[in-house]
């Protein structure tokens, strides 16, 4: 069947073959199905629910599968104030997530402690776990969280997966 659109991939010429790099393909798999672990600790978690609901709809970005078990999640979204009493629990849950894993610090409290310059509040979740994307706002708009997710997808897209995997294989053998 003839079409008048010109695209890079022509099934008439290339058949069922797509030429790409393994890195790019693996990253494409990874970044379009990030399963988030909602670490809801305060009012940001309410806004995170809005991100998952129909109006903002996080499933447009392949991340609708919110998992409440860290073992099934790729990305922890720390939404809210991390108190010192909760800090070790957050760390333990992060440690239970399988590699590769990412963290979004959602809102002022998770990023820096926010307005709580206090004896009871951890001054930024990056004191205990590595954070990939910080989102400003108190709480952030759902669009800001989606933007953070897209930023994280860009970041995942640039990771040299294959070199990491071969290095890991070399390390194990």
């Amino acid at each position: 069947m003839r079409t008048n659109t010109e695209i890079g991939y022509d099934s008439k010429i290339e058949g069922d073959v797509i030429v790409t790099r393994v890195d790019a393909a693996l990253n494409w798999f990874r970044k379009n199905s990030i399963w988030p672990m909602p670490m809801g600790l305060a009012c940001c978690a309410i806004e995170l629910m809005a991100v998952g609901a129909s109006r903002f709809d996080i499933s447009r970005f392949g991340s609708e599968v919110m998992r409440f078990s860290p073992r099934q999640a790729d990305c922890m979204i720390v939404a809210g104030t991390v108190t010192y009493k909760m800090a070790m629990c957050v760390k333990r849950i992060y440690d239970q997530m399988p590699e590769p894993r990412w963290v979004i610090a959602m809102g002022a409290c998770a990023s820096t402690g926010g307005m709580y310059r206090s004896y009871a509040v951890l001054q930024g979740v990056d004191n205990i776990i590595p954070v990939d994307v910080y989102v400003s706002g108190c709480p952030p708009r759902p669009e800001a969280v989606l933007d953070a997710l897209m930023k994280l997808q860009d970041k995942i897209g640039q990771q040299p997966v294959l070199t990491e995997l071969t290095a890991l294989a070399a390390f194990k053998s």
Partner: protein
């Protein structure tokens, strides 16, 4: 029962340990000079005067004064609509008074919070543990001599705490400033 009547009943029952009533905007405050009798007074207030609801128990740190602690009980009668505030003072050396949990069960968590934040103990309390901070936290953070930024602690496997960076704060807002720069919270020392 009109307010003055229950004050009179308390005074005839307990005599000079109950102070003269202080009235402010229709609310009556009584000072109890012997903190050890607070449970007795509360028992009487509940059974004889109808104060069936304990609204709140709170504590005040009069740092630098003796006695250091004031414990405040807010009582309400749901049937008669009366309010009564009972205050009693506790010295720092003693830091202990009887629980009222046996009279109103709601006092359980109120007293735990006072113990957690101020370090005042309640004798006879069945479960006097910390309620907000974790078990093993060594300080009482609502005391006036506890710094705003907190103190470093470390309890391996449970929790740690570091002093918060106040960056010269605490930050203070000024009401009635003519522009946003003057009104927003900034570092303000008493001198400047």
């Amino acid at each position: 029962m009109p307010p003055l009547e229950f004050v009179q009943k308390l005074k005839t029952k307990f005599g000079p340990v109950i102070s003269e009533p202080a009235e402010f905007r229709g609310e009556i405050t009584l000072n109890l000079s012997d903190a050890g009798r607070i449970a007795e007074v509360c028992e009487f207030a509940k059974t004889e005067l109808g104060f069936d609801y304990l609204v709140d128990v709170s504590s005040v740190d009069n740092y630098g004064e003796d006695p250091r602690w004031t414990v405040v009980y807010h009582l309400r009668s749901l049937t008669q609509g009366n309010e009564l505030r009972l205050k009693t003072e506790v010295s720092e050396e003693k830091s202990e008074l009887p629980t009222v949990m046996t009279i109103w069960k709601t006092a359980n968590w109120h007293e735990r919070e006072i113990y957690d934040m101020m370090g005042i103990r309640f004798s006879g309390h069945p479960d006097l543990r910390r309620i907000l901070m974790w078990e093993g936290y060594p300080y009482f953070p609502l005391r006036k001599d506890f710094p705003l930024a907190g103190k470093p602690t470390d309890l391996p496997g449970v929790a740690f705490a570091k002093p918060a960076p106040l960056e010269g704060g605490p930050f203070v807002t000024v009401a009635g400033g003519k522009d946003a720069i003057q009104r927003e919270p900034r570092v303000r020392t008493p001198e400047g």
